[in-house]
């Protein structure tokens, strides 16, 4: 049974078609890369799945349920922009999530804060961008969700932090959950994906397992991506 099922999804912002006739079925127990240039519709797709945008047409099911309160409880979403109130300290944000989500594991989250070398008592507004991203990742991974939607988790962080984030994603992997990792930085990340979806101008241009792409094309996913999208851009 698919964990995420999308049938004929269409989403417009005014006259602009942002997602077009999308069909997609994804099972649990995978880390899926959602890759595409900026503006291809990745964030829009993730927001729809996270239940934050309801103005679309098509059929979407998460864990067999239509989008709503039940699916929001199953989905843990890491947005591109940090959204935690900056007057809070790290531990306040953790307590807030702990109150709000029944699947939140406070002990695990506090351990993760320590591993990421964040001070629980530090005020968010005094934290660097990289530190805020690590905190947000902790909040998202502290939940025992069925679906994790990560929007550009490694964008704008240094290589050491990137490595720490990728380790956290791999530690979080389970056969019972599905992780979708949206990024435009494929090269160093494709190795953690089971499969990738190439999104271009709101359409799925390619969807296959990473190793199958390498076998078929004799190239890395990153190289295939560049070829596919340079064709599209020059049209």
């Amino acid at each position: 049974m698919s964990m995420i099922l999308i049938e004929n999804l269409n989403k417009c912002f005014g006259p602009k078609e942002v997602l077009k006739n999308m069909d997609l079925s994804l099972a649990s127990g995978q880390i899926v890369g959602l890759v595409g240039p900026n503006g291809s519709g990745k964030t829009t797709l993730l927001k729809i799945l996270a239940g934050l945008t309801s103005d679309y047409t098509g059929n979407i099911r998460i864990g067999g349920q239509p989008l709503g309160v039940e699916t929001k409880a199953m989905v843990s979403y890491l947005p591109e922009k940090t959204y935690v109130s900056d007057w809070m300290r790290c531990v306040d944000a953790i307590d807030y999530f702990n109150d709000f989500y029944s699947d939140f594991d406070r002990i695990k989250a506090m351990e993760m804060l320590a591993q990421l070398r964040l001070d629980p008592k530090q005020r968010i507004k005094t934290m660097s961008k990289g530190m805020q991203e690590k905190l947000q990742l902790t909040l998202v991974m502290g939940r025992q969700a069925r679906v994790y939607l990560l929007d550009e988790p490694i964008g704008g962080v240094d290589p050491a932090t990137r490595s720490v984030i990728l380790d956290a994603v791999l530690k979080q992997y389970s056969e019972d959950s599905l992780m979708i990792f949206a990024t435009h930085l494929i090269a160093d990340v494709e190795r953690i994906f089971d499969r990738v979806i190439f999104l271009g101008f709101g359409e799925i241009k390619l969807h296959d397992e990473v190793d199958k792409i390498r076998e078929k094309y004799g190239k890395s996913v990153d190289e295939v991506f560049r070829e596919v999208f340079s064709c599209l851009v020059s049209l």
């Binding site: 127990g29 995978q30 880390i31 490595s163 990728l166 380790d167 791999l170 530690k171 992997y173 190795r191 953690i192 994906f193 089971d194 990473v210 190793d211 199958k212 390498r214 076998e215 004799g218 190239k219 890395s220 990153d222 190289e223």
Partner: protein, 125 residues
Amino acid sequence: MIEEFDDKTPIYLQLVNIFKMSIANGTWPIGGRVDTVRDLAIQYQVNPNTVQRSLSELERENLVFSERTSGRYITKDAGVVREIRTNLAAKKISEYAEQMSLLGFGSDEILAMTARYLSEGNIGG
């Protein structure tokens, strides 16, 4: 340091070679326990299903076997380990010999230069 993979070949196949190397040189000791899929995935920063696939391939080749409840173990057969070591060495030697001959060196020269390098640390003038 995170292992670098080449771009061209499937990652699971590259992992199979890396693991075979570990078995050949004893980093993965004969009869020893193989780390869990999760630990290996984190160690090599690779997808867990890819690790699983590589380990299944090693099982297929009888280099590793599964104990139903306690996990995976490296073969206890020293002969098998010797064989992988020999096969990996043969591959390296044939690549080396071919590249040296592409440089225009004959067999006698290759032998002499190699012997000199191994005993003195340089190949002379």
